[in-house]
């Protein structure tokens, strides 16, 4: 086995892993302000690709404008998820079941997927990339421009999200809401708006992830489930709530699934990835970079 072969596998794994990382950050943003997992996140990623496709094919827009359309539409869609699947339930949290959000977010995900299937069918569609397709040879490693762009753009987006949350007033208001919503509200922060903001930001990241990855995987209404699951896996692996953890988790997951799928069998690609997550959770329940949570009796 040559070094070039291994490097090529790692590079490919990092590319897909960076997309899982973006999806994982989306989960984290919503988890931070609401304490819930938005199980429709994968479908928002799928919509990122499909809306982008519609903008390119139906509106005739170039990819760099189509991505903006996708960004706007999916962010609004994520706000709709907030209004429909979370807000009504959050008002009833003190009353009935506290687990209603599981069904409501899965349910709205199914609705989004079915609407997408009605609009675009279940076929795969080519989506043009934001950069021209070309190869750069570095020794034994071949760097494809589209893959490299996806990897760099995903890392950049993750860094920008961290900067937004840590170094802007909006980010600080968001963090205050996630830390203690009641105290934040007393300090004059519009906490419901911050929760809505977390959904919209998660939607924007999903749109970008979907648009970035579709030239590699092809755009399809059936893409959401698997990307959503892998993104969730990355979030859990890295530590739910930690964006740095999400990035690390996504990249590890991407590389692991490629390595196992190549050296064991194709069928092991998903199995090994999820076995790894289980293993990490058994040995370190808070994930790789998550903080341990202790609850007072």
């Amino acid at each position: 086995m040559s070094l070039g072969f291994l490097l090529q596998l790692v590079f490919t794994g990092l590319t897909m892993g960076s997309i899982y990382a973006l999806v994982a950050i989306g989960y984290n943003l919503i988890y931070a302000t609401t304490g819930i997992i938005n199980f429709s996140q994968g479908e928002l990623v799928m919509m990122g690709g499909m809306v982008g496709l519609a903008a390119v094919t139906a509106l005739g827009l170039p990819p760099h404008l189509a991505i903006l359309v996708s960004l706007a539409v999916v962010s609004v869609l994520a706000l709709a998820v907030y209004r429909i699947a979370w807000q009504p339930l959050s008002r009833r949290q003190s009353g009935g079941s506290r687990l209603g959000w599981i069904l409501s977010t899965i349910g709205i995900g199914i609705v989004i997927q079915n609407v997408a299937m009605l609009l675009w069918g279940k076929e795969f569609h080519p989506l043009p990339a934001l950069v021209p397709d070309g190869n750069l040879r570095l020794g034994e490693l071949v760097i494809n421009s589209v893959q490299a762009f996806v990897l760099l753009a995903a890392i950049l987006l993750a860094v920008l999200t961290e900067l937004l949350l840590n170094y802007t007033f909006l980010g600080k208001a968001f963090k205050a809401t996630s830390f203690n919503a009641e105290a934040a509200a007393y300090m004059g922060i519009n906490t419901p708006a911050m929760v809505g903001f977390s959904f919209a930001l998660a939607g924007a990241l999903a749109a970008l992830a979907g648009f970035l990855v579709s030239p590699l995987t092809f755009a399809s209404s059936v893409l959401g489930l698997i990307v959503g699951l892998k993104g969730f896996g990355a979030a859990v692996l890295g530590g739910l709530g930690s964006n740095r953890g999400a990035m690390v988790g996504g990249l590890i997951l991407g590389v692991m699934e490629i390595i196992s799928g190549t050296f064991i069998t194709a069928g092991f690609r998903d199995i090994t990835a999820f076995l790894l997550i289980i293993l990490v959770l058994v040995m370190r329940p808070q994930g790789l970079l998550g903080q341990p949570v202790t609850e007072k009796a």
């Binding site: 490919t12 279940k122 795969f124 190869n135 494809n144 590699l216 092809f218 799928g261 190549t262």
Partner: protein, 401 residues
Amino acid sequence: MRKAIAAVMLAILVLGATACGRPSGEGSDGLKTVKVGLIGARSGASAALGQYLDAAVAAFRHMNETGGLGGYRFEVELRDDETNPTKAAELTRELIYKEQVVAIIGPTNTSNAVVMVPIVTEARVPLIVPVATGTQIVENSFAEAKGDPSWVFSVTVTDDVQAERMARYAKEHGLTRPAILHDDTAYGNDGAQQLTKALAAVGITPVAVISHNMSSPDLTPFVLKAREAGADSLMLWSLGHDQAQAAKARAKLGWDVPLIGCTSLQTSNFRSLAGPAAEGGLSIWPKGHVRINPNSNAVPPRIQQAYDIYFKYYGGDAKTIPLDTWGSGAFVYDAAMIVAQAVAAVGPDREKIRDYIETQPLTNLASRDEIRFSREKHTVYTADDLTMVIVQDGKLVELDD
């Protein structure tokens, strides 16, 4: 005693219902109606294949609008199996027992055909397979029949025949170290097995036989594995989407070796998904069929005529399949004409339809002047009937080799 008589009467009724199609009602135009089942993947991973079924719908509509055939009008029951074998089995039973069809045309996937074979054999309903190419479809039908006549006929180019032609090309062009990349469905596994066998017959051993999941988001690692094994060519056995992923992976790696795919390489979604990476892709197809021959720059009149009928009903919209990729459409059209010809000759009796198809020359087809099956032979094509096809400037062209 009464219970026994009732049971016997019930059995007679059930047998009567399954032996014949739905009793033909005579319409005001004097034509009797028979139902024909059509099944295939209209959605799901191989939705592109399911669109070929429109050719049969068009053929039956055209016959109905031009006075029927042999005093019969054809009512089509079209079902979408969603590329799902479980669904295919369920819909096959629905077509047979609820809709009482006289024959079934389909499916479009080998995995689905494999589960349908025992069902049609048990119910004694003729199945004409125009798109799914698995060798085991017809083979299994003979095994299921246990010495009785098989109920399954294939009118497409089966995997063993495709493999033989692909292996012959490899031998003729000195490709002695091919790698086989296939999906892990019944279709992909059978294709890889047939290809390995055909390569062995010409003295070639593949350097790697690599399996991958169907509808993979990225085949780069698998193509890399083939390159790492020192392959001098890449032979693909999967659906158009995965072949496109393999072509893109090969381009991404800058690995310039011949790409030789089974017939799925010619589906329209392969070229639309792979884009420039599809260029130079090789495949196999019957000579003088729908592919443009660079010398004559035309297709045979029977193909053109059948395509015109398809175009009359399905032309002019975004889903219309262009003539050069309508090859499986022509096979579907053939299947419709075979069923219609048999019904016109012997009526709606399933057993008589099967016997007619097996013993009589079948004509008025798109693909060939005539098809003749026999008790032992329920397939049409041999490797000598095939030629190589290449993707050139985004079009499929017969390779004059």
